[in-house]
Symmetry: C2
Subunit: 447 residues, 2 copies
């Protein structure tokens, strides 16, 4: 019967005279002359195997990354990692790894450059610390869904092939769809709104989105997983901020509970859920003043360069301020000026779109990085049609949106959390690309 690495100590206590089996990958081999220690890796972790002699199979010496199945007795040993080891009586090789391993799977990932890690993705994904990233990511996605299901949200699956970009914009990838061209969806925005307007009221979706952005930075991916939410019958973006706090608190709790080992590997902690409730909401203009105040402290009050918009430096500074003043580096910046938000964003001063300088919108910044954008949307057909020309859009160019609002649509809004960005910030990774199994950027479409 197969035992997992994590259960070896239990086996050593309960079944010490029974022969048991473990299976997995040869993670490390230490030849001590008389005996050989092999560290075996399986889905649950690492286990130490002790061989009385140099382990060999029909193809010669055991190689790193080979998959083997070993039988023997589990024995408590304080010096072994985990407190137990397997004294191997016999083993068989299920898959022999070639000896020319081009990447050192068991090396410290922090000593590897990002390019090396990604160029050897099939092998770097075998590193336990890299796998920890994706175990945490799986918890995040599941907790996001669970928090929303508890509040009566329905999960939807919308198409990623769209006839045209709902937000317009040039940052779209084109797909040859039989005899015509369509685009890869940059967001499920329109479809979420359709489903709210349909009467489902509360929906979420976990799916890939596509941005043909040309910049290649540690903040950007051309394909990422978007945790999308849309909700009817809200008053303002503040309802959405409350919802996101609730969702994030649940995610942090679940990660703390399900992934303590993974957090430890990365020397990471999640905020506690009490702290999340204290995260401040700061209007855009005030957040710029705060960012400039913080910048002045660092640079000296006389420094001339000023921060004029919510750029990466401002995001970092305002999180530092929140950490100091509110005990958590999580901030909601709301009331963004009209010019920074898409045409469907609801104006702050109802019915006075013409003079409205700000919107019912928000970003969520976590540990110095924007992880969420959201807001209330237009729901009134007439107000929407009046607004469009201010964005240089004709209502004929937006038949979908017009049809959506024309036949009854409740006040609503939503937000989206970037799954890779949230993973990155929870674990303190150096780039969002590390949090994507197979990242896509300007030069990378393989593996």
């Amino acid at each position: 019967m197969r035992f997992l690495a994590k259960d070896l100590t239990t086996a050593a206590r309960d079944k010490k005279d029974t022969e048991i089996e473990v299976s997995g990958w040869v993670h490390r081999i230490r030849d001590m002359g008389g005996i050989t220690f092999v560290v075996l890796r399986d889905r649950s972790g690492l286990a130490q195997l002790v061989f009385d002699q140099k382990p060999e199979d029909s193809g010669g010496a055991l190689t790193l990354e080979s998959v083997i199945c070993a039988s023997g007795c589990a024995t408590l040993n304080e010096k072994a990692p985990g407190g137990a080891e397997l004294r191997v009586k016999s083993f068989k090789t299920l898959s022999k790894a070639a000896p020319d391993l081009p990447y050192q799977v068991n090396a410290d990932i922090l000593k590897m450059g990002l390019e090396t890690i990604l160029d050897n993705r099939l092998l770097s994904l075998r590193n336990p610390k890299v796998q920890a990233i994706f175990k945490v990511q799986a918890t995040i996605a599941a907790a996001f869904a669970e928090a929303l299901r508890k509040q009566d949200f329905t999960e939807i699956k919308s198409s990623k092939l769209v006839g045209s970009g709902t937000e317009g914009g040039t940052e779209l990838f084109t797909v040859e769809y039989f005899d015509r061209k369509v685009c890869l969806a940059q967001s499920p925005q329109f479809y979420k709104e359709v489903m709210v307007a349909s009467g489902l009221e509360r929906v979420f979706e976990i799916a890939p989105v596509y941005r043909a952005e040309k910049h290649d930075t540690p903040r950007h991916l051309n394909e990422y997983v978007s945790l999308d939410v849309e909700m009817g019958f809200i008053e303002s973006e503040k309802d959405l901020i409350e919802l996101e706090k609730n969702v994030l608190a649940h995610i942090f709790e679940e990660v703390a509970q399900k992934n303590p080992g993974e957090l430890e590997m990365w020397n990471a902690r999640v905020p506690d859920s009490g702290a999340v409730a204290n995260a401040p909401t700061v209007p855009y203009d005030e957040s710029l003043r705060i960012a400039n105040g913080e910048a002045a402290k660092t640079r000296g009050a006389g420094a001339s360069s000023r921060i004029f918009d919510m750029n990466p430096e401002a995001e970092r500074l305002i999180c530092e301020w929140a950490k100091r003043e509110h005990g958590i580096d999580l901030v909601f910046v709301n009331e963004f000026p009209r010019r920074y938000r898409p045409f469907y964003t609801y104006p702050l001063d109802k019915g006075e779109e013409g003079t409205a300088v700000s919107t019912m919108s928000f970003d969520c910044l976590f540990r110095g990085l924007e992880i969420t954008s959201g807001g209330r949307r237009h729901h009134d057909y007439n107000a929407f049609v009046e607004t469009l020309p201010r964005f240089g859009i004709k209502s004929e160019e937006m038949p979908g949106y017009c049809a959506l609002l024309k036949y009854g649509c409740p006040p609503h809004g939503g937000f989206a959390i970037g799954l890779e960005r949230l993973t990155e910030k929870i674990l303190g990774l150096s780039s969002v690309k590390e949090a994507s199994l197979f990242p896509r950027d300007r030069k990378r479409v393989e593996p």
Copy 2:
């Protein structure tokens, strides 16, 4: 305080003298002269509102599909749907629907043609019976994930943009990715295998897949949601069939428990989980014999036309046979001949690929339709490299697969369930397109 339609009866009992609020869509209006009945639709269902006079807002008469918020007292009334109604004291219109509704939301969906339903998708999605499809679908996806998480599977998110088709094939959509062309993934097959080989061992993914198939039938979608599973350390496809039975049983249980109302709307039943365990596994050759036997019964024994492969007619016939003989119209057909399966499928006679006529593969047929394809895969590098030329493939053309197998890969396999097909068959829909929110076929990329 807002009450949902489903809670109106409780409100009528517990809060009969308190004014409460309900919000939702005007689903039906019945003007009885003196009083007007309005059926309101919200995310929980339907509620009857009673107005003492013809309801009007500042824009005139109330229109179908307008979103309103009504206040009044809930009262028990045996004749009202659900056993209670709201005597409206006041209401406000949150969003007035234009009076020229181009599609009758409250009509019986079974009386609408599929083209009409899909051409009016923004409105047909408002029909309660259509929404029921997607409530059931959400339960299916969640139950699939839950069943697998319980068995230590990790959810993954792989890229949908691939440098080349892992299965080769011409049924790929092309994407213009900056200055080159890539493809939309027709399956996460390769990535699932990478993650099993990484040491995660057990993975699943819920994500869209793309098939540029030109045929437009009630069985096909060009974009669908694939419920994908891959698992290490298996002996044969029979381990996968056991796993799928377990997963399907959990899905059926959850749908029965969470969606009784939706099942009733469609006059549908799910198999009970005991029956799922009885689903037969029939080797390919035998299943053809059975299908021909069934066909002969219908056509008369002397009929000449024979079934030579597992075509839609054979799928239907073998499910009828299983229903009669095993009490459930769920069948696993295994041991497909080599010619019907992709190159990575494991041969049935180990090490004798040259003479192997069948493979460790299976399909799952449910209520007459193939909903799953799966099998064990090659895991031995040398055997794989020897096999490729038989498919006319050079190993240089498969650098990814070769790298995957070269450095240690356990025996493994997996399967994929088509989410829309499973939804269709659970509810007895007439086309798989009905089970896709925004179906994509040869002519349809909108909305």
